[in-house]
Symmetry: C2
Amino acid sequence: MESMKYVIGVDCGGTKTEASAYTITDGELLETTTTGFGNLVVDYSKAVANIRQAVDILLQTLGAGDCQMIVMGIAGIDSGGFKQKMAEEFSYLPVNPVFLNDAQLALYAILKGQDGVVVTAGTGSIMLGLVDNHWYRAGGWGHILGDEGSGFDIAKKAIQHVLHEYDSGEETSAFSKEILTFFDADDVFSLAKKVYQVDKGEIASAAQQIGTLATDYSQAQIILETAGETLAKKTLQLINKAPLAGKPISIGLNGSVIQKNERVLEAFTRYLDNCQLPYDLHKKEASSAKGAYYIYKGEQKL
Amino acid sequence: MESMKYVIGVDCGGTKTEASAYTITDGELLETTTTGFGNLVVDYSKAVANIRQAVDILLQTLGAGDCQMIVMGIAGIDSGGFKQKMAEEFSYLPVNPVFLNDAQLALYAILKGQDGVVVTAGTGSIMLGLVDNHWYRAGGWGHILGDEGSGFDIAKKAIQHVLHEYDSGEETSAFSKEILTFFDADDVFSLAKKVYQVDKGEIASAAQQIGTLATDYSQAQIILETAGETLAKKTLQLINKAPLAGKPISIGLNGSVIQKNERVLEAFTRYLDNCQLPYDLHKKEASSAKGAYYIYKGEQKL
């Protein structure tokens, strides 16, 4: 039997790093391993150590000689100077890794190497498009300037609703009481304080609870529908910017908010439908790491 | 000659602490001194040391025996447990200090002990009302959740305009180029990064520049007018909540944005005028520290 040639994809996010190896012939998953966070902005040295550990395990298990390509999708890689530094950190590897941000890697995995758009909406949000090897982007400016329609944005809108009731001198509504309870806050003051003290992901986790509350509270429905529409508007902004308009567009869905929150997804597709946009939705079927396999296949074609 | 009895007011802000002594007879300024920042949230120990230094200088100069009252207006004092801790820190003083937040002290200084509303719009924003010894509040939820119409909010809106052009694939407008230049940013990416890396006050300082740009750029005008209207809306929210409606309302102006930016103030008053609200505007004539004198006079009356 021939030796088994493979590629490695590494999805490095804010909470975990997942490295997976796929055969180059048909993208079969050979081996996968998970270590700690791989977000360079959170803690550069720890992130590098976590990424190294994950990759080294795969190389030892499968043999370094058969590794054809390593692709790393890393949160925060676009910030100044990181690509150069990371190339040095990983110069010991048998092949020089390709560095992308985590949303770019997800796009390859979800669209399986086709051109199109991926909507990422988790803690933050960003719209990415890939057309003829050119990248296009809209949104993704972080929780103060943007991240519209993200989990953090949904949680923020709910918290602002509670504050608005207070500012208006209204009684605290049943919905607002649910939000206070979720954040274990005694009053509006401790609720507001949480936003400045607690991790962004923890605030964003309220989006799931707001999804549950939408059954009973119209305020929750409004917030989720607005998020879906906002994501659709940013997606259209991107489509009009990238040379994509006029043909059916592949739209991939990435991140817990757009994948798991039905009301957000419904509002998203309803908005696009109303704009009479021809598109195909692509749900995420495999790990973002599999993007490495499609990148390898694409490069082999050229 | 009788000894000169006096009160001390201390205005403790994010950049400096100003302590001033006023005669109890007619509020004449006797002595003033300035030390470093007095914001407890920035650095508790340093803030306490700065405040102590300022107060001690006045007491030594004027004699501790004649001090009738000390009032401290401290940014961040409302956060959990600070009042108790501060009472202990300053238990050595000849009189127990009265603790307020800095916007409350400003209200006393600007409205000279009358009931009414003060609009504070500097780096952040908050609306405070005082009626029959009860406080009312609207806004002031910080730069992520609120601070509508503040300097930070004005700067954020300008930066978001630059990002919106990028997201839409438009060419960078002349106004956006001015914003990039102001923040010494080469592109939208480094511009967005600044917001997350640089001190809030530094971001908010762009509001003044946007005031200058309003002569030439309609986008700057729109941002400033929106800020003024937003401050007016929050003020009306407060007026409707506090038992103030129906009689001419004293409205005080506090903070650089509402005091110095003419377009913001014009939009603010135009909005109130359109609502047919009877009010008198009170501009800030003395330091916030003088609030201590009016508090002393009010308490003597009771």
